[in-house]
């Protein structure tokens, strides 16, 4: 049975992204469950700083050896920072998905959207419901 790290101080989406909320700015990445499911990450395609993102819409792409998956914006707003290191080191998503593997930071246009995100307990339940390999 796989073990998944789900930090208590973050918020989550049903699409397996984590969200660190700091006032009206959020930092996002993919969860430990997501990176374990995907396997070796070989490419991450992220938007440029200044790009608008809309909640629930794809903002980028993550590719493992076997598959390509969309990344969905957990909140709406504007991209204010991008983790440029992932271009050369996509493996950071596997190694440290909650730290070095962060993807983008967004200045939220509607901070109320944070209320729609899952807390760690709800997200853990979501992971468990999908069964474990």
């Amino acid at each position: 049975m796989a073990e998944y790290d789900i930090p208590g101080d973050l918020r989550y989406t049903l699409e397996d992204e984590w969200v660190r909320v700091e006032g009206e700015r959020v930092t996002i990445g993919v969860t430990d469950y997501a990176q374990q499911q995907l396997g070796d990450i070989v490419f991450v395609e992220l938007p440029a700083v200044g790009s608008p993102v809309e909640r629930g819409e794809p903002f980028g792409v993550i590719e493992s050896v076997k598959a390509v998956s969309d990344l969905y914006a957990p909140v709406s707003g504007e991209v204010v920072e991008v983790n440029a290191d992932l271009a050369d080191h996509p493996e950071h998503v596997n190694g440290d998905c909650y730290t070095d593997g962060w993807m983008i930071a967004i200045a939220m246009s509607d901070p109320g959207e944070v209320e729609g995100l899952l807390d760690a307990a709800r997200y853990r339940k979501h992971v468990e419901e999908r069964g474990q390999e």
């Binding site: 396997g39 070989v42 590719e63």
Partner: protein, 359 residues
């Protein structure tokens, strides 16, 4: 995963932490630890694969060799007992029913190792077109197959067996015991590295897999899944049925002319193959930009679509993305600049000679 068949190693795969996925009707390990690590283990040391989903069809009797000669694109009559060849089963239109390896067991017996997804189709095809006095048996359910691949394979095998003989060449096979179980061992594989394929009775599979794993671990052997098998075979530019080959593809388009015997007319589908104009050719390419070219993506040249990718993956050995795809023959020339349509961008790529990785 209901409705899926399991190999005799299913419980062991789970115990080893494999991620299991549906493949050709079987629940198979796609990876144990990491596709990249497993790939590297095969190139540097050794990897052990359960490929028991592969099918085995045995032809025996006085007509067996004539049947093989008629059904297969490669010479069978001249194949001595103890030798293996790669060949194609072709249909009347010159398409590929399956790509197989054929083993000459005896004067009057052969067996074909066939793709899991094609076992039933191949069996029906062979029964329908076999010469008289040929007994055709689908032995897939009774036997298992392990692939021990990588430069340390011979050393690993020697820990648990008197095999291989020191002078054993590629595409030869011998029968003997492996970890106490009767086995047929061929120096063949689907990775582009040296290695062996070990055919065993289904009930002996688990003990032999465990013994090879234990003997091989200190030498750097890892259990490997289908994910690494795919990246390894792609680096070696070995075709995968359903991707590079199908019932409509000519072996000549697929670059497999050296496995098609001459003169034409000597086997089922030969006339059609010789009569068809080759309008496309399989080309290997390296992506010159970041990204991964996946099967189905369009290949573009001079602003227009000229073909599509049949297989693509990051090459762990080269550190770049590689792929295979069909293009007009004039473009299938090393050095040709093409583009791969990856989502909304056209990524620059170059046609290169294959295999991508030589070993």
């Amino acid at each position: 995963m209901s409705g899926l068949r399991r190999t005799p190693l299913h419980a062991l795969h789970r115990q080893l932490g494999a991620r299991l996925v549906p493949f050709a009707g079987f629940e198979m390990p796609v990876q144990y630890s990491s596709i990249l690590e497993e790939h590297a283990a095969v190139r540097r040391a050794a990897g052990l694969f359960d490929v028991s989903h592969m099918g085995q069809i045995r032809l025996s009797g006085p007509g067996a060799v004539a049947s093989g000669e008629w059904l297969l694109s490669c010479p069978v009559g001249s194949l001595s007992p103890g030798r293996v060849r790669y060949g194609l089963l072709c249909n009347e239109s010159g398409g590929v029913v399956d790509d197989v390896t054929v083993y000459r067991l005896a004067e009057d017996a052969l067996f074909l190792c066939v793709n899991a997804s094609n076992v039933e189709k191949d069996y029906r095809w062979i029964v329908r077109h076999a010469a008289r006095e040929t007994r055709v048996e689908d032995r897939s359910a009774r036997s298992g197959l392990l692939a021990l691949q990588g430069p340390a394979s011979a050393e690993v095998l020697a820990q648990v067996s008197a095999l291989p003989p020191p002078d054993m060449k590629r595409f030869r096979f011998v029968e003997g015991d492996v970890a106490g179980a009767p086995a047929l061992v061929s120096r063949t594989g689907y990775t582009g590295s040296d290695g062996f394929e070990i055919y065993l009775e289904a009930e002996r599979l688990e003990a032999v897999f465990a013994a090879l794993l234990e003997a091989g671990r200190p030498l750097g052997l890892l259990p490997c899944g289908l994910g690494a098998r795919d990246t390894l075979r792609l680096e070696a530019a070995l075709p995968l049925y359903g991707h590079e080959l199908d019932d409509t593809t000519s072996p000549l388009e697929a670059g497999l002319a050296r496995f098609v015997k001459l003169p034409p007319g000597g086997f089922l589908g030969a006339d059609a193959i010789a009569g068809r104009r080759v309008e496309r050719a399989l080309a290997g390419f390296v992506l010159d930009e970041r990204g991964v070219a996946r099967a189905g993506y369009a290949i573009r040249h001079a602003g227009r679509d000229v073909g599509s990718v049949t297989s693509g993956a990051p090459s762990p050995t080269l550190g770049k993305s590689i792929g295979l795809g069909y293009v007009p023959p004039a473009l299938a020339v090393p050095g040709t600049r093409i583009e791969i349509a990856i989502r909304d961008r056209a990524a620059a790529a170059s046609v290169v000679a294959t295999p991508f990785v030589k070993s």
